[in-house]
Amino acid sequence: MNRPVTLPIYALHAAVIVLLFLLQFILPDFHHGVLARVMVLAVFAMGYNLLFGYAGLLSLGHAMFFSAGLYGAGLAVEHFGFGMLPAFGAGLVAGGLLGLVIGLLALRTSGVAFMIVTMMFAQVFYLVTLYFADWTHGDEGFVIAQPLRQIAIGSLHFDLTQPTTRYMTAFLLFSIVLIVTLFIVRSAHGRVLVAIRENEERTRMLGYDAFANKLAAVIVSAVICAAAGAAYAILFGYVGSTFASVQYSILPLLWVLLGGAATTLGPLLGTLFMYYVVDITSGFISAYLFIVGLALILLVLFFPKGILGTIRDRWLGWLP
């Protein structure tokens, strides 16, 4: 086991955050917008990674946590006239509560059953968003009007429809979640999660409460994913049931696998890479699903550790 190397880890994460901050000044408009969106989606992937990468729990239902945040924020604005910040908070609460309930139920199972159970709960959530179409407008979804998407703190005023504000908000959320994730995986709790992933019975024998640790991981993961969903709703202004469909449970899995499961920066790399792969290839062929499918198969076949996982194995053993 490598001894924890602290300095390069902090330096690397600080460098990534500074780089993302500086990029907004040099990127052309299009890529500027893409990066803002990618950072929000990377938060989703980071939440997924916490559970899948570190705790070793493969969920096929994380779309429900993302859309819990999305709908928690969206419905609060649409039907209860919440401001942007309280709406964001409502999204987090919705995600956390759903995470608690799903965690309590789904963690009674393990392995394949856990995957199927999470997938089914997500499907129920999806059907719920369709069934209560009076509230959610189902498939069509609804748009949060531009004049509503403003934040006023004292005399300060932020317009979330402005590209710069949007980028900065996404950047802020991403940075906070990145630091939180780094903190969690280096904490005692994070180490126990990895121990559970490697050998749950032994961890329990050593006196750790595996269930409580896993439940905490599910809830934190759900809240992070809900934060991504809520941010998506208030930044991009669209709320629809597509985000609750199976596909949005698979995408974070793909991003995390590609970037490297159980690496703190892997989710960002995977999301960014996949976004551009789809964007570039869609110029030649309109076979978006084909690319996703092929990427999944090639990854599990030849590259199961992803980009950063492979780098960590070969060169940088200290990468968190």
Binding site: T109, V112, L289, G293, I297
Partner: protein, 293 residues
């Protein structure tokens, strides 16, 4: 209509659903039972079977029965070949690791779906039934073809049961299911058994799809519902238990038919999925299964 004929109609519709579902779920159950692989692409093999049935009947023309009978044979064979190739190229190399195979079959799902969308298009297209005889009941006429689906499904289920319990191939499959390593030690070519079972599972889904396509339609997204319903059936019946699978298929098919006649189908699906997830949480061995291994 009065209540009784209404219920009779719902029951008949439910039986047809059950028949198709039993075949599809049996495929999924076999693959899971013998190989311990959760095949998420199972619904896409179903879809592929239906789309191929449309392609074959359209290309052939002539009397619908000829095209249909040909499709009933050729379509499962093609789907079986596709599954075989996928198994050899992907699943075997993953050494049937449960998590890796799930991710890989999700990949297959997208590839097959995209292939169907690109080559076949986004429209739902009908296939003509091989015959259009209507059985006249005192209250309403009922499609004879739908009843023949039930009969065909029962025949196929009996055949599968016979192969599994009364032939040497079945014995080999059950031995592999029971203990892979001991089977290998006794000279059973486990590797080839796996390939065969995966292809057989896909073929069962394809047959079910060919049978059902004249009364529904072929569409590139039609695979998701059978996949989820098959999961439900296999879970309720107990993962890997064949008798349980059939009983559960009848149960789910009938209640689905009856509930969606009297209530909203989305609500029915919602409640069914939720109940099943809870069954899996609180009784992981299924309602009819014995203790989990």
């Amino acid at each position: 209509m009065a209540f009784f004929p209404h219920l009779l109609l719902a029951t008949l519709e439910g039986l047809v659903t059950s028949a198709v579902l039993a075949l599809t779920a049996l495929g999924l159950s076999l693959v899971f039972g013998v190989m311990r692989v959760v095949n998420v692409a199972h619904g896409e093999f179903f879809m592929l079977g239906a789309v191929l049935a449309w392609a074959i009947t359209t290309a052939l023309g002539g009397h619908p029965a000829i095209g249909f009978l040909l499709a009933l044979v050729v379509s499962p064979l093609i789907v079986g070949t596709v599954a075989l190739v996928a198994e050899r190229l992907v699943l075997r190399r993953l050494n049937y690791n449960p998590e890796a195979t799930i991710v890989a079959t999700i990949g297959m799902l997208y590839i097959i779906q995209q292939a169907a969308l690109t080559l076949y298009g986004p429209d739902a297209r009908p296939v003509e039934p091989p015959f259009s005889y209507r059985i006249l009941l005192p209250w309403f006429g009922y499609s004879g073809y739908k009843l023949s689906i039930v009969a065909a499904s029962i025949l196929l289920l009996l055949a599968t049961w016979f192969v599994l319990t009364r032939t040497k191939i079945g014995l080999i499959m059950r031995a592999t299911q029971y203990d892979r390593e001991t089977a290998q030690a006794f000279g059973i070519p486990v590797d080839r058994v796996y390939a065969g079972v995966f292809a057989l599972g896909a073929m069962l889904a394809a047959v079910a799809a060919v049978l059902v396509v004249p009364i529904s339609q072929a569409h590139y997204l039609m695979g998701l519902d059978p996949l989820l319903l098959s999961f439900i059936v296999v879970i309720i019946g107990g993962l890997g238990s064949l008798r349980g699978t059939v009983v559960a298929a009848v149960l789910i098919g009938l209640s689905d038919g009856i509930i969606s006649v009297f209530f909203s189908p989305t609500l029915a699906k919602m409640i069914a999925t939720l109940l099943v997830a809870l069954v899996l949480v609180f009784r992981p061995q299924g309602l009819f299964g014995t203790a989990a291994r």
